[in-house]
């Protein structure tokens, strides 16, 4: 790297020049935010670049982390438990001094559920904090507990409150996701679990406030 390039990257908050190995598609939400900002009128852009209007939170960096976890096969399927998966998000790229202001988990399913559910056909979803090895932390209450009748393309869960006071959850975030059929429903557990098989991917959108936004603003 020439020194000019490295000093420019540093001023942009990057320690080194990225070289993507397997670039993923751009998440539509980021593309929408980018396009909306680009189309704002210039030059009098009364834009606060330290706030993400779309989520109404302070922040100047929005990242989408892909799940790097795995299914926990050894314990499924079991009874009413349809799915048990370790969700693992590597947050080590977050820099010192960055403050997390929002975290949103997205569970994407392969299809919309077009079948109107049978009466009483309810799925229950729980998210637990877990150790990096995927062990739920005993006695911990679920971060999220929700029942739903119909699967949509994706389900969104705000985890900001669960991640307490914006403190960085360490270098990674590990959760255990459980989807189970409600034990009161009629029909075999297997048929009731059919919908949960459609889980396609999980991702975590994180908004942070970088150092540039936390210090005093430069005066003219």
């Amino acid at each position: 790297l020439s020194w000019q390039e490295s000093s420019l990257l540093k001023s942009l908050g990057l320690s080194a020049k990225p070289s993507p190995r397997s670039p993923v598609p751009v998440p539509p939400v980021l593309w929408r935010i980018f396009q909306r900002r680009k189309e704002l009128p210039r030059p009098h852009q009364e834009l606060d670049s330290c706030r993400v209007e779309e989520f109404n939170v302070p922040g100047n960096i929005v990242r989408v982390f892909a799940d790097q976890g795995r299914f926990l096969p050894e314990e499924q399927p079991q009874g009413w438990l349809c799915l048990r998966k370790l969700l693992f998000f590597n947050l080590s790229v977050l820099e010192e001094g960055e403050r997390l202001t929002m975290a949103q988990l997205e569970l994407r399913f392969q299809h919309n559920s077009y079948h109107s559910p049978r009466p009483g056909q309810v799925l229950e979803l729980r998210l637990y904090p877990a150790s990096p090895r995927g062990q739920p932390q005993p006695g911990r209450r679920p971060l999220v507990e929700r029942s739903f009748v119909q699967l949509h393309k994706s389900l969104l869960f705000k985890l900001s409150a669960a991640l307490k006071d914006g403190k960085m959850p360490g270098r990674n975030l590990t959760l255990v996701l459980e989807i189970s059929a409600s034990s009161g429903a009629s029909g075999s557990p297997r048929s009731l679990c059919a919908g949960s098989d459609a889980l396609e991917a999980a991702s975590l959108l994180v908004v942070t406030l970088g150092r540039q936004c936390r210090g005093p603003r430069r005066r003219r």
Partner: protein, 113 residues
């Protein structure tokens, strides 16, 4: 494309066009968008008397007057950005995550002395 500053060759302090192309600096494989942008820069004279449209500070007015009396001893005031706009950049970071980052003060909209 965004409106661009006029390009008449006036010697006075004003924004000048400067388009930064990320592929020119070899960043096209990790910057998703934009491919480049109009950053502009400031150049031009701040002569005495300073015209109102030169966005001058009081000190600049003083300095141009002293410069007109003693050009060797006191230089003209500088022509600098006085109004800037942010831009957003979409890129892949070192872990192949997609990042949208907003950077302040990346586009020169107005210059002054």
């Amino acid at each position: 494309s965004p409106p661009s500053p006029p390009v008449t060759p006036s010697p006075l302090c004003k924004p000048r066009r400067l388009y930064i192309s990320f592929s020119d600096v070899g960043w096209e494989n990790w910057i998703i968008a934009p491919q480049g942008y109009l950053a502009n820069y400031c150049r031009g004279d701040c002569p005495f008397p300073l015209a109102a449209e030169l966005n001058s500070t009081n000190h600049a007015v003083l300095q141009t007057m002293v410069h007109s009396l003693d050009p060797q001893g006191t230089p003209q005031p500088c022509c600098v950005p006085v109004r800037l706009s942010p831009i957003s950049i979409l890129y892949y970071d070192n872990s192949d995550n997609v990042v949208l980052r907003h950077y302040e003060d990346m586009v020169v909209d107005e210059c002054g002395c």
